[in-house]
């Protein structure tokens, strides 16, 4: 799975670092909460307006007018069934997760936002059917403004999800056992140095191409919305299959070697120390791409093997898999040392 996530570091107060990690059950509950609440809300609304729901009700629309109908019972049963399935999978993931939800804030907030949006649309669909003119489902008009309006509850729900992740512990990034001590390049006063290298991932190119091709095929189905989504994601994946990692006086920058944006930047001021270490894509991060891994590690993992590892002020670890990471780490440490001597540390 590929996460496009702005690498924002939240300041951590003293009190927060003492917070103990949540137990498995509370974690499971936090992850399962959105689909469960969604289920409950949908069923409640459905039961509340059941007298006024036409049978069959409009469940598929194109351009705001209905072109597909299902019986209300089927619609509610299928929707709640799917939501319960998501809840079970989510609960299992939350229960088994050995990483603090605070480190997984990205995926959790995305889950909350998406389910908030989806719930709004489902509830709106039911209510619009209940208020159909003369009880005729063909008169149902689902204004496209709902697609925009739904973003509001989605954002609020996302905020709730974010707050819930804050109840979990802050994890310090664990240093790999037997790591060599950090090496430092000595930089003269006024000297500027830049280390830059490209990394490629053939896996991501293939996945990106397949996704884009699927998108094009979907376009002919026709499924325009899905097709666009697939094409956009496919292009993004392909764009990030070849990245350029740069270490300079500003810190670490990772950008696609094909397009200037999006890019990930870790400022020098946020880095405590840099090292080079071995990284295992599946075991530590569960895959490739911009990943959240175990014990507060996150970063761009394009392959297993040699990686630049930066320990941040917040205690978390940022990694980028790239060759010659040792030189990159040495340069970063050199800049950090110079920054310290300059500020009189």
């Amino acid at each position: 799975m590929f996460y496009l996530y702005a690498n924002k570091e939240f300041p951590v107060s003293e009190a927060e670092t003492d917070r103990r990690p949540l137990a498995a059950v509370p974690r499971a509950l936090i992850v399962a909460l959105p689909p469960l609440a969604s289920c409950l809300l949908l069923v409640t609304v459905g039961v509340w307006v059941r007298e006024r729901l036409p049978d069959p009700m409009a469940t598929h629309l194109s351009g705001g007018t209905p072109d597909g109908y299902t019986s209300p019972v089927t619609f509610l049963a299928v929707s709640t069934g799917l939501l319960l399935l998501v809840a079970i999978v989510g609960a299992a993931c939350g229960y088994l997760s050995r990483t603090s939800l605070r480190a997984l804030v990205g995926p959790v907030v995305v889950e909350y936002v998406m389910l908030g949006y989806l719930t709004y649309l489902l509830v709106a669909l039911v209510l619009v059917n209940a208020h159909a003119e003369r009880g005729d489902p063909a008169n149902v008009r689902f204004g496209l403004y709902h697609l925009l309006l739904g973003l509001l509850p989605a954002a609020v729900v996302g905020g709730v999800g974010w707050l819930l992740t804050r109840t979990d512990a802050v994890e310090a990034a664990a240093r790999g056992a037997g790591q060599p001590p950090a090496v430092r390049l000595s930089l003269a006063r006024g000297e500027a140095a830049t280390w830059t290298r490209t990394v490629g991932s053939r896996a991501l190119v293939v996945v990106g191409l397949l996704t884009t091709v699927t998108g094009i095929v979907l376009y002919f189905l026709p499924a325009v919305l899905e097709a666009t989504l697939f094409c956009v994601v496919g292009v993004l994946l392909a764009a990030f299959s070849a990245i350029r990692v740069t270490v300079d006086r500003r810190g670490v920058t990772v950008a696609s070697s094909l397009v200037a944006w999006p890019r990930v930047q870790v400022p020098l001021t946020r880095i405590e120390e840099a090292t080079c270490r071995e990284v295992h894509a599946i075991r530590e991060f569960g895959g490739w791409g911009y990943r959240m891994g175990r014990r507060g590690s996150s970063g761009l993992v394009l392959r297993s093997g040699e990686a630049l590892s930066a320990r941040l002020n917040s205690g978390r670890e940022f990694v980028v898999t790239v060759d010659d990471a040792a030189t990159a780490a040495a340069l970063l440490n050199g800049y950090i040392a110079r920054r310290h001597t300059r500020s009189g540390d």
Binding site: A188, R189, G190, E191, A192, A193, T194, W195, T196, D248
Partner: protein, 118 residues
Amino acid sequence: MFRVDPGSPVPLGDQVAACVRRAVAEGSVRDGERLPAARELAASLGVNVHTVLRGYGRLRDEGLIELRRGRGAVVTSRATPGHARLIEAARRLVADARELGLTDEEVLALVRARLAAD
């Protein structure tokens, strides 16, 4: 790896070119590899973009890189460690000759004489 020292008497553009030549000589950049875009490298090092362009232009004249619209600076197949050392030797030859006060024609005559002798 690009290292430049603004305090050094060597012009910054030449320093940039020297970094690439060193990398080629060490074998850490190879044929077909793309160098960072001049604008990006300039921002990264904190120097003027024209400085970097001058360095890249010099490398292009030496045949070590190609500057293509859209693709940027690409290392050519001529960029072997041996070739890089040869360019370095030529640089030293010219520097020494200038120091001795030789004119360009005299330097060329010296090289031609060498070519004719072997």
